[in-house]
């Protein structure tokens, strides 16, 4: 009964490739997020969707494109991967867009060679 799941857990790829990370939540939440955690453990928000609508779009390269096919899913597609994209990417969800606990997925460790 995983609340927030992500696939894959590990992703190793070459520079220049395109890859996707998938996220699903079965909590019935309205809001979903993508966070990036770098090697210094800094956890930074990238995107947020509320009821399939993009509400937060932080300053990230436009090589990163989120897509929410429905309320329960938020995927992240990355084009032309660079070395600096190596990080752990966490998906999260919350009942609403403010003042609510966020449930994090297990993370996807992306390594770009």
């Amino acid at each position: 009964d995983t609340a927030v799941s992500q696939t894959p857990k590990y992703l190793v790829t070459q520079m220049g490739n395109d890859k996707s990370i998938k996220c699903e939540q079965n909590l019935g939440h309205d809001t979903m997020y993508w966070y990036k955690q770098d090697s210094k453990k800094f956890l930074k928000i990238m995107f947020s969707y509320n009821n399939k609508e993009l509400i937060i779009n932080e300053t990230v390269p436009n090589r990163f494109s989120p897509k929410s096919p429905d309320k329960a899913h938020l995927n992240l597609h990355i084009n032309s991967l660079e070395l600096g994209d190596s990080a752990v990417y966490f998906c999260a969800s919350s009942r609403d867009r403010v003042g609510n606990e966020q449930f994090f997925g297990p993370g996807t460790r992306l390594t770009v060679l």
Binding site: K40, K41, F42, L43, K44, I45, S48, I55, I56, E58, F90, R97, V98, G99, N100, E101, Q102, F103, F104, G105, P106, G107
Partner: protein
């Protein structure tokens, strides 16, 4: 707008107490506290909303001083299982100019509890 956490790291012996602080330069709507163990996802501990409040469960509690825009996390009688990195996250008041209620995390406080 990133909150400032202190200390950066702390080492405790089992049974000792610790306080982790989080402060913001902007008016806050809420403060969240999360714990992350190595190789795992952050886990929610508690949320404090504006209006100033104090919360706690078991031996972990927190306070939120809305006027000072500060929050503190209190860990009492620490256990080995308390080890990990603690993050505070803040949501700014809408009129702080943030434009959205995004959660911004501090850099974390690494807590190590030793026998």
């Amino acid at each position: 707008q990133q909150p400032v956490q202190s200390p950066q790291a702390v080492i405790l012996r089992e049974g000792e107490d610790a306080v982790i602080n989080c402060s913001s330069s902007k008016a806050l709507y809420s403060v969240h506290w999360y714990r992350q163990k190595h190789g795992e996802a952050p886990i929610f501990l508690m949320i404090l909303l504006k209006g100033g409040e104090q919360k706690g469960h078991d031996k972990i509690s927190a306070s939120f001083n809305e006027k000072k825009q500060q929050s503190s996390l209190y860990l009492t009688a620490s256990q080995l299982s308390y080890s990990g990195t603690y993050f505070c996250g803040t949501e700014l008041n809408w009129d702080s100019g943030a434009g959205s209620y995004q959660l911004t995390f501090g850099k974390g406080t690494k807590l190590s509890v030793i026998p």
